[in-house]
Subunit: 156 residues, 2 copies
């Protein structure tokens, strides 16, 4: 599992402009278009690139409310039902099993406080085994990217 500088630059460029043409990418890399396409195909086959996506502006879409919800389950037996609900809800963007006082940390996005209330009451609290939820409302977002720190990979 080796990643040379050209691979990292390729990943970086495709994170910045996911629809750029192979010719354009090749220009930035100093390669021909087929060579650039080959390298990308290899990165996809190795599982480093899992797909491509349009990036949407949540606020422009009217999704003005982001929140983090810490969830505590009262027994591991209720895990499956909880995770099923997590996967079924489009408003739950992320769900992480975390260390600390609570079991799970969710990142959710919805339109307004009423929708958040419905999410907490109907989608979460209603699940058997959800003992407690703690909600942090996002007042403003300073930075939000899904691009991992590619510069730091050489150290690994």
């Amino acid at each position: 599992m080796e990643l040379n500088d050209l691979d990292i630059k390729t990943l970086s460029l495709l994170c910045q402009r996911g629809r750029m043409t192979w010719a354009e990418l090749a220009g930035q890399l100093g390669l021909s278009a087929p060579a650039a396409a080959d390298r990308v195909k290899r990165l996809e086959e190795r599982g480093l690139i899992t797909g491509y996506s349009a990036l949407l502006d949540a606020e422009a879409l009217g999704l003005n409310l982001t929140a983090f919800i810490a969830v505590t389950l009262d027994h591991p037996r209720h895990r499956a039902g909880f995770l099923a609900q997590v996967n079924a809800s489009a408003e739950i963007l992320e769900c992480h099993h975390v260390t600390g006082d609570d079991d799970y940390l969710l990142k959710v996005r919805c339109c307004h406080t009423r929708a958040l209330e419905a999410l907490i009451t109907d989608q979460l609290k209603d699940i058997e085994g959800v003992a407690k939820t703690r909600t942090l409302i996002v007042l403003s977002t300073v930075k939000e990217t899904q691009v991992p720190p590619l510069d730091h990979l050489s150290e690994s």
Copy 2:
């Protein structure tokens, strides 16, 4: 600011497969290729689509450690310095100003615990005004998407 069903379907399709051709998109929408391209261009100009990106597998890249760090500043005067550091660090993926016991919630991603230690000690604690940090380690990630809940937009 109107969004019809075709717009929402367009956004959804482009979130799933960001590099699909206009011809392919047009097929899914029941339109001709130029019509589909026109609709996408309009969504970009309206700011709903902010760009396109390759999606990377952080674990496959060796970025095995994700954490959330709650940060408390001891005085608003130290805000600017803190935010400058946040924007300068590639390992800090997100920074949200939140309600609750702490001021900011960061999502960070790095290679291993040593790198996380360096992030907390050198990048955060070293900033003047950072009074306290609380770190939650992510044990496993159940779900992680950046695609907003498009189904729920009709209610707004």
